[in-house]
């Protein structure tokens, strides 16, 4: 009996140790990045690195002064909100239709689209958008980012729609409700929380997406993520400003992901795992 209690204590102790080690390994680089962004410029590159310093906002001021950070941020916001809205506009009816008709191949097709490398889409888009002179337009960016948001919306909403009992729809049909009205008045209110989660996940993934904006944007429409290169170029001497940029870029997705933590896995795996 005593033996078993001892083993238990050992296991609990090991568990705690493991959690602490994993936590430190995971958190330390991020903490380091945030700390560096508040360091006075001469201390950021100090060697050996310093942990104690008087925090300053000088890097953030420097960042907004030397780079068009705010207009990049606005570009990111426009593209992300636009592509999320587009993803919802088409994704909600699509998910409902797949759930309603049980014809699943269109949903699987969007999954296949997510498995293909982004460059595969980017090449034809580039050729097309160049021919109609739309390189660098918000439209091109929003359309391309919808490829990211659409599968997320569909696959996050599909289980929610599936979970609504058929009898609810049948009752509505008996009362003479058309299918589009069922979606609008009955199904959508029932999956409202699912829609919110899918919108947030779509926003996060669209915000984080790098590849498309790298090619399809120009100086005026560059998103924050695609502008990361500019910051690195400037940051070769200005680590403080670079880390300030990194912190600010990571902030919106981190906050939003924390909000939907519970559903994060379903968004990331697109229905591959039932959690």
């Amino acid at each position: 009996m005593n033996d078993a209690a001892n083993t238990d204590r050992w296991i609990r102790w090991l568990n705690t140790l493991q959690l602490v080690v994993a936590g430190v390994l995971i958190m330390a680089p991020t903490v380091w990045m945030v700390l560096s962004s508040f360091k006075p410029s001469f201390e950021v590159t100090a060697y050996p690195p310093t942990l104690v310093f008087s925090p300053t906002l000088e890097n953030y001021v420097e960042l907004t002064r030397t780079t068009p950070f705010l207009s990049y941020a606005l570009n990111s916001l426009i593209v992300t909100v636009g592509s999320t809205a587009l993803g919802l506009l088409f994704g909600i009816p699509a998910a409902f239709a797949v759930s309603w008709t049980r014809i699943t191949w269109p949903a699987i097709l969007t999954l296949a689209a997510r498995m293909a490398p982004g460059t595969l889409f980017l090449l034809p888009w580039y050729v097309m958008f160049r021919q109609i002179g739309m390189i660098g337009s918000y439209t091109a960016l929003i359309l391309s980012h919808a490829v990211i948001t659409l599968p997320i919306v569909i696959w996050v909403l599909l289980p929610s729609f599936d979970a609504i009992p058929r009898s609810v729809f049948e009752a509505a049909q008996v009362d003479g409700c058309s299918v589009s009205r069922i979606l609008w008045r009955i199904a959508m209110p029932l999956v409202a929380s699912g829609i919110a989660v899918s919108a947030i996940l779509a926003f996060v993934f669209s915000w984080n997406y790098f590849l498309f904006a790298l090619v399809l944007s120009n100086g005026d429409t560059k998103t924050l993520i695609a502008a990361a290169f500019n910051f690195i170029g400037e940051g070769s001497t200005q680590w403080g400003a670079l880390m300030a940029a990194a912190t600010l870029i990571a902030l919106p997705p981190l906050v939003l992901a924390a909000l939907v933590q519970r559903w994060l896995v379903s968004g990331l795996t697109l229905g591959a795992v039932k959690g």
């Binding site: 083993t7 296991i11 390994l25 995971i26 680089p29 991020t30 380091w32 990045m33 560096s36 590159t45 060697y47 050996p48 690195p49 296949a112 498995m115 293909a116 490398p117 982004g118 460059t119 595969l120 980017l122 090449l123 034809p124 580039y126 050729v127 996060v204 915000w207 984080n208 790098f210 590849l211 790298l214 090619v215 993520i225 990361a228 290169f229 910051f231 690195i232 940051g235 680590w239 670079l242 880390m243 940029a245 990194a246 870029i249 990571a250 997705p253 981190l254 939003l256 992901a257 994060l264 896995v265 990331l268 795996t269 591959a272 795992v273 039932k274 959690g275």
Partner: protein
């Protein structure tokens, strides 16, 4: 959910060969410093390290989801049979969890066969060609050398490889399913 690009920026600074915090820690432990991303030998392990750092929590979340859905009755049965915690893990948890682990492996491989963001932000495939992946190469052929046709062929091949890997993994998942 930190953007991979930000992870790249962050590690770029931490792993800086001369002033980075990583080399300082190595040196204070009495280990030789590394060139990390600037070394042709170490660049692949280094980007792998950055990616693992970013996505290990995600794999843990998937596995946690799998753990929570395991039936408690098997564990009660094992306890009655007097199985040790280690044996329980080895003979019950691991086999029951294998499908989940394979799923996580599928998702990660699909992402990693197309590994782009972190490599492109940190090295663009360099030094030399040391960290060039098919995806990076295809991107550069298409948008730096503007050989769209060759780049498309490369990307279709990569897509075929990804689908092949998914099919193979799916077979594996079928084999370990319970």
């Amino acid at each position: 959910m930190m953007p991979p690009v930000v992870a790249g920026m962050m590690w770029l600074v931490i792993l800086d060969p001369s002033l980075g915090a990583a080399n300082y820690i190595l040196q204070s432990l009495g280990l030789p410093p590394s060139d990390w991303l600037a070394s042709p030998t170490w660049v692949i392990p280094t980007v792998a390290l950055i990616d693992s750092w970013q996505w290990t929590p995600y794999v843990a979340l998937i596995v946690l989801g799998g753990l929570q859905s395991l039936p408690p009755s098997v564990y009660e049965a094992a306890q009655i049979d007097g199985a040790s915690p280690f044996k329980t893990f080895q003979r019950i948890t691991l086999p029951l969890l294998l499908p989940t682990i394979v799923t996580a492996a599928i998702l990660r491989s699909v992402d990693l066969l197309r590994f782009f963001d972190i490599i492109y932000i940190t090295t663009q495939g360099g030094p030399g060609n040391a960290s060039n992946t098919l995806n990076i190469y295809g991107f550069r052929v298409g948008f730096e050398f503007f050989n769209i046709g060759y780049a498309s062929a490369l990307m279709l091949t990569l897509t075929a490889i990804v689908f092949g890997a998914v099919l193979a993994f799916n077979r594996l998942r079928g084999a370990v399913a319970w």
